[in-house]
């Protein structure tokens, strides 16, 4: 009996004494080589075309660290709403065990179907955050709004609200990034040009529901995330 209590005590101490360390992930929105500032004009295609990003917001979830092909750490119930309007939201700090070896990072872009299927949730998932559809249930995974001379729309505006979780339009995506061994200060470029240059902006400028166009655009999302260091 005494032995059991002793082992229990030791394991408790072990649990509490497991050292934690912080790793930070900074998301850095760019267009090709230039940083994106909200509401500022940037020119592309040899300065023939212009673009103003007015809003960039997206969810990051299900963060995992891997060593080669093995998951070594998972952040459970971690849902982060990144919003360029609030620069501090573009940095995520994670507390992980000290002695972890990892060389890959996996990120969920958006909210997976299991989480979507639940009832109302709080924190970053609170429906007051402007990332939940009201007319049809489901989170908006990724929101990009702005103006481009290429859009033949009123005031040249475009709006992409990518989301939805029900088959055949389950738009949740993951991206897998290779890291320098055990790097604790990660900088990830979010290159919007990877979306915009592949898009027929003239014709596709409003996506507000889960549909074929939304699915096509969403498939491009993983490639906009690039590890910088």
């Amino acid at each position: 009996m005494k032995k059991v209590i002793f082992i229990y005590f030791i394991s408790l101490v072990g649990l509490y004494s497991q050292e934690k360390t912080d790793i930070s992930i900074s998301f850095n929105p760019i267009f090709e080589d230039s940083s994106i500032l909200l509401d500022e004009v940037l020119y592309y295609n040899s300065d023939n075309d212009s673009l103003v990003i007015e809003s960039l917001r997206f969810y990051i979830s299900n963060i995992q660290l891997l060593q080669n092909n093995e998951v070594v750490y998972t952040i459970n119930d971690g849902y982060y709403l990144l919003d360029l309007e609030y620069p501090e939201s573009m940095n995520i700090t994670l507390s992980i065990p000290n002695n972890l070896n990892y060389n890959r990072l996996s990120l969920g872009i958006g909210i997976d179907s299991t989480t979507n299927a639940k009832g109302v949730m709080g924190g970053a998932l609170d429906p007051t955050k402007g990332m939940y559809w009201t007319w049809q249930s489901g989170y908006i995974n990724f929101k990009l709004e702005g103006v481009s001379n290429k859009c033949a729309t009123r005031k040249n505006r475009f709006q992409y609200h990518l989301g939805g979780y029900q088959s055949p339009f389950n738009l949740y995506q993951t991206v897998d990034l290779v890291l320098r061994n055990n790097n604790k200060n990660l900088v990830i470029d979010v290159d919007i040009s990877e979306l915009i240059l592949d898009l027929d902006l003239e014709n596709i400028n409003q996506i507000m529901s889960p549909n074929t166009e939304a699915l096509k655009l969403t498939k491009l999302l993983p490639q906009i995330f690039k590890i910088k260091n």
Partner: protein, 329 residues
């Protein structure tokens, strides 16, 4: 002995920890298990009462003129008698009939087209629809925060004066979950407390042969979507489920409504096109656009018998239950 004492003691602690406020959801033993996940939102008196206050408060709409109860009146089993289409702020008229609200704990999806998958997020739709309440959920939260009444009610219900969208919606769900209709004559017969008349019995047999596959007992809906042969109203062009699923197979499919409380919930159908029950029966028995599987052959005697049975689904106790009505302070 000592062990027993410890177990007893810990049970006592558990009971007191969860006492007073928490409630168990009660329903008849012949009902199926509810689909709502009560562990994520356990019922409590204070939360239900908060939800009830919100349900009857026009503050939920942009100009504080329309409450949930404006279109979901307790005396109509929470439907909107006499109005074929829903109403909203600035006298706007919607495109569908406001459905009755009861037995929502068994709902698998919500709205005529099933656009909403969970009761908790359903209220977002009417709150933010420009033709209904026209309010934004984030500005509603700050509006409520600036009242003298609501921060305290949220504190009592959720232990936090700071109102969130999550707590607001969970409270509205809680009140709606208490709207259980299980006290009609049909229910008392099921509980062997009463008997059908001869005509009601005949009507019940006709019902079981012809209606029960969609309006399935004891909830009187299979919670599925069906195409019932109604022609598309070209002033509305409402294709129902297809507008959500983007699948042409779902064209003109709508959610099967429960038949409970049907005397209180007219007009009928998703666009409220029929004012009388007999119009509904005439549609199912004589509409040439119906396929053989949906069409029903009934004599006029059969129709009278069927209606006699259908009237046993009215639940007066539910409709006049003071616990569901406008909260008196």
């Amino acid at each position: 002995m000592k062990q027993k004492l410890i177990i007893l003691l810990s049970c006592f602690v558990l009971l007191t920890a969860f006492s007073s406020d928490l409630l168990v959801f009660i329903y008849p033993d012949y009902f199926p298990k509810p689909t709502y996940n009560f562990t994520e939102n356990p019922l409590s008196i204070n939360k239900i009462e908060l939800g009830r206050a919100l349900f009857y408060d026009p503050i939920l709409s942009k100009d504080s003129t329309v409450s949930c109860a404006s279109c979901h009146s307790p005396y109509n089993a929470f439907a909107h008698t006499d109005h074929d289409l829903s109403h909203g702020i600035n006298d706007s008229i919607g495109t569908r009939n406001a459905p009755a609200l009861f037995n929502l704990a068994w709902g698998k999806s919500f709205m005529w087209d099933g656009a909403i998958h969970n009761l908790d997020v359903q209220a977002l739709a009417p709150i933010s629809h420009p033709g209904e309440m026209g309010e934004d959920i984030a500005s509603l939260v700050s509006k409520l925060q600036n009242t003298s009444k609501y921060p305290n009610l949220f504190k009592h219900a959720f232990g936090d004066k700071n109102i969130t969208g999550e707590h607001l919606l969970k409270a509205i769900s809680q009140f709606q979950l208490t709207l259980v209709s299980a006290n009609s004559k049909y229910d008392s017969v099921r509980r062997k407390e009463s008997y059908y008349t001869e005509q009601e019995s005949k009507g019940y047999e006709i019902f079981k042969r012809n209606c029960n596959s969609c309006h399935t007992e004891p909830l009187f809906t299979n919670n599925q979507f069906e195409r019932n042969g109604l022609e598309i109203d070209t002033t509305l062009n409402d294709y129902g489920r297809m507008m959500i699923s983007n699948n042409s197979k779902d064209s003109a499919f709508f959610k099967v409504p429960s038949l409970r409380n049907l005397s209180y919930t007219y007009p009928y159908m998703h666009d409220g096109r029929y004012r009388k029950l007999k119009d509904v029966l005439n549609h199912y028995t004589s509409d040439p656009s119906l396929s053989n599987s949906t069409s029903i052959k009934l004599s006029s005697n059969d129709k009278a018998d069927l209606i006699a049975f259908l009237l046993t689904l009215n639940d007066r106790k539910f409709v006049f239950d003071p616990k569901h009505q406008f909260p008196r302070e």
